[in-house]
């Protein structure tokens, strides 16, 4: 008979679970398991009243383990760890069993089967809990310094924000000047402010701040150490190349984007009179009189949208994403053209107008100022041809708003509305082990709940290195990274889950297999009792468990998921008695 006192709570989740799984049977069976002191069901286990009930039961019965059979651990692990803490149960002696996603939702047509599966999963959960030991969070002291990679608008603003909350900041920029793309813009929407001036203001604030150190012509080339205390190696190109090391608690990556460069001949690119939106914007901003290109007056402009964005999935290396900023940029550029002297006829060949939010006003204004819009079919982009004799450029497209009729426009200038692409950043990606998404931009952990965090603790992403966005959105994400940095650096310490791998030093014979397999560089070689052994840095270990099975002598165990626990869970599922 086990001496443990475990509470088991089976949730009905309204009818989500209760309508398919016979919860009473599950409770009944759980109550008979060794070590179970309390077994109950509740309509909603996560509700306040049930949480209080759990706390009360635990105090009354002196519970030392908790099993909640409800929904996915992604949803409520932290909720019930907290309940355990309030109930004086060690939070790591609580087990979440998922009987909603894994039973009721998946087996709606088989109530008996769903119930049987729930019984087994709960038994496995109880078995695991029975073998838990109380664990304490790993507390690491953090370095109150931060590194920002990238000196564009997002990086500058993040550096300033970090300094303003009292952290020391190192700002690393690859180019020999700060400011990035925005510094090259003149009028920006929607406020009409000058991009160059905005960035200059920001740059002088950054340069004037005593707690910010700026390195230009510099790159982050390596990172070592662990969460809260990283050593970053920076290479600086001066008279000669030198490297320095800085100690930082967090790293904000804001390395920006590149513009899509059309291939030769793509939408007529490479011919005289076919240019990208970036080139066009420069042309317009340099004009004071009537618009001219290569000395020729421009009376008709054709914009072709979505060039290099939203490419069909089946194409090799396609950019399937929407670049998001370009609809706004093109309508805005057309308004800048409207403001020049002389009448210019402007045609926008688009797929969908995605002038989201208040940018809709740009679209509305450009319409009213006489821009014409042609909606071309997704699968049939416009073609651009140049008559070799007359040199006349003709854009041909089908217009869905004219029942698919084919239209031909003679244009003086064709502007390809090109999107954003990820920067080539191999070195940095490798140095930081940053995850890269399908589209080639850096990936966050969760797009809604953890939008600037990466799987590398303490390394945050901001601005267009994560996804195409405009400058204000970039600054927003930069500031989000600032507050995430503050959350770990301002307390002076951070807490990590203790669910990490440990080595039984007496058993270990140092073969190095574990070190080779660890993706986080958490394992190193050391001496113990006169022999070579593996030691695991618990702040670097992520608890992935990859090293456990490779150890030939079985010296490694994973806290919270020990071999014994896993075995007991399998037994529980198979219905083998304990």
């Amino acid at each position: 008979m086990s001496a443990r006192k475990i509470g088991v709570y089976v949730c009905q989740c309204g009818g989500n679970i209760g309508d398919y799984v016979d919860v009473d049977r599950v409770v009944e069976a759980a109550s008979k398991e060794p070590g179970v002191a309390v077994a109950k069901t509740a309509m909603f286990t996560c509700s306040d009243s049930t949480q209080q009930e759990i706390v009360a039961d635990a105090r009354e019965q002196g519970l030392d383990g908790l099993v909640v059979a409800s929904c996915s651990p992604k949803l409520h692990t932290y909720t019930f760890r907290d309940v355990a803490r309030r109930a004086d149960i060690n939070p790591f002696q609580y087990t979440q069993v998922n009987v909603r996603e894994q039973c009721s939702w998946t087996h709606t047509d088989d109530h008996e089967g769903a119930t049987e599966k729930a019984l087994r999963l709960v038994r496995a959960g109880i078995n695991r809990t029975r073998l838990t030991e109380p664990l304490e969070s790993i507390v690491v002291e953090t370095t109150p310094q931060s590194l920002v990679v990238g000196g564009g608008i997002a990086g500058l603003r993040a550096a300033l924000g970090l300094a303003q909350i009292g952290l020391s900041v190192f700002l690393v920029e690859k180019e020999d000047r700060l400011g990035g793309w925005v510094s090259e813009f003149k009028e920006m929407y929607p406020h009409g402010r000058n991009g160059g001036e905005l960035v200059t203001q920001l740059e002088s604030a950054v340069r004037a701040h005593p707690d910010i150190t700026v390195f230009t012509s510099a790159e982050l080339i390596a990172k070592s150490g662990s969460f809260g205390n990283y050593q970053a190696t920076i290479a600086i190109q001066g008279e000669r190349l030198e490297t320095i090391q800085v100690q930082v608690g967090s790293i904000v990556v804001a390395t920006g984007f590149d513009t899509y460069q059309p291939a030769d001949g793509e939408f007529g690119y490479g011919q005289d009179g076919v240019i990208t939106i970036a080139e066009f914007k420069k042309l317009v901003e340099a004009s004071s009189g009537p618009l001219e290109y290569n000395g020729r007056p421009v009376k008709t402009v054709a914009y072709v949208y979505c060039v290099g964005s939203r490419q069909p999935q089946y194409e090799e290396g396609a950019n399937t994403y929407c670049s998001r900023y370009c609809c706004n940029a093109a309508t805005h550029a057309s308004l800048q053209v409207n403001a020049l002297p002389g009448r210019v006829h402007q045609y926008h060949f688009y797929r969908d107008m995605r002038t989201y939010g208040s940018f809709e006003l740009l679209y509305a204004e450009s319409l009213e100022k006489g821009s014409a819009y042609v909606k071309y079919p997704d699968e049939e982009p416009p073609t651009i041809e140049k008559d070799p004799q007359s040199g006349r450029l003709t854009v041909t497209a089908r217009d869905l708003l004219s029942e698919g009729e084919e239209l031909a426009l003679d244009a003086d200038l064709v502007v390809l509305v090109t999107g954003m692409v990820p920067r080539e950043n191999q070195g940095l990606t490798k140095a930081l082990k940053l995850p890269v998404g399908q589209s080639g931009f850096f990936n966050e952990i969760h797009p809604k709940l953890r939008p600037v965090e990466t799987v590398v603790d303490g390394v945050y992403i901001a601005g267009c290195c994560q996804a195409p966005r405009n400058s204000s959105e970039s600054v927003q994400s930069g500031l989000a990274a600032v507050s995430q940095s503050a959350a770990i650096l301002k307390r002076g310490f951070a807490e990590l889950d203790p669910l990490v791998a440990t080595v039984d030093l007496d058993v270990c014979e140092w073969c190095g297999a574990c070190q080779d397999t660890c993706p986080y560089d958490a394992i190193s070689q050391d001496q113990h009792a006169g022999k070579e052994v593996a030691v695991i840095a618990k702040t670097a270990c992520k608890g992935c468990g990859g090293c456990v099975p490779v150890c030939p002598v079985g010296a490694i165990d994973l806290q919270g998921y020990t071999d014994a626990q896993i075995r007991s869970m399998i037994d529980g599922m198979l219905g083998v008695g304990v």
Binding site: T300, A364, L367, E368, A372, E405, L407
Partner: protein, 380 residues
Amino acid sequence: MATRLNPGLADELEAYGAEDVSKCFNCGNCSALCVHSEARHVIPRRSMHALQLGAEDKLQGSLEPWLCYYCGECSEQCPKGAEPAETMMSMRRWLTSKYDFTGISRLFYRSWKWELLIIVLAAIATGIGFTLFGMSQGSINNYDGPNAFLPSAKIHVFDWAMAGLLVFLLGMNVARMWRFFTKAGDVRASLSSYLVSLPALPVHFFAQPKYRECDRKRPWAVHLALMLSYVTMLVLVMFFLGELASGPEIDWRVHVFGYLASAGLIGAVLLNLRGRLRRDSPQHTHSHESDWIFLILLLVVATTGVLQHVLHRSGLDAAANVTYVIHLMGVVPMLVLEVPFGKWAHMAYRPLAVYLARVQLHAEAAAAAEAKGAQPLALP
């Protein structure tokens, strides 16, 4: 063949009154509520978009502007204030000038000053001409009889000559309209399609049954009164001028029609003028200069027509003759200028558009039936 765009078209149409077309964002609300809009004729959205794009050839051969009767509901409901109804009206003005091979129409619509000047010059020339002619014929003190100032038999001949000229001019324009239409729509209709659809022509000329389908019925009723009065007057003048002019006894067989038609004309014109002054309905909200010129001319013609008759009946022959000359000074510019080149041309183009639309339907049904090897379908 791709439709080649004319980027300047929308700018050009501005002179015809299309000032807000660029605001349209193609939501289609207007076409959803227009009773004349259907799968084949998306009125007015398609025309709005064609104009924005500058699809000139398409628009030039389109019947759709004529299938709109300007009830104005679309303009009231348009979320962007793009004034689709007024834009359709301005497209009708533009089409009128496109059909017209002389270029006079274009001049009139683009400059009301020219229109007014030419009308006034035509009126003065008419006045001088008829005064000299009258003096050669008899005495200003005689309205009828052997020594009449403007003997009705001779005026009658003049009327027919003028009618001939008018039919010629209008006929040329109508032929161009037909050609634009068949070219732009690539319409290939057999003679039988043209013949079978023929009854639509007089029906839509006299009664405008399509106009009656609009939610607002009053404009149709007023228009019908105007139209019938006008036709009645035309018949009287063309065929019964002698009976109309001779006196002193009133010949009720013709005069009762004359009085009714005059009352109808004057009443409808006054209602229209009042509406435009008060902007009482969407149709009357935007008045192009040509609208005013047209209404005022019609009012002058109708009132002087009645007046000269009253003066004559009252024995004031000299005054009646002077008024008669003034009347003719209105009639001639109205018939020679307004009917073939101005707003009145719509009385030919509109029924013709309805007719041609039916011809096209019939031709397509016939082609489809032939493809299936069956007999052409009868039109509903």
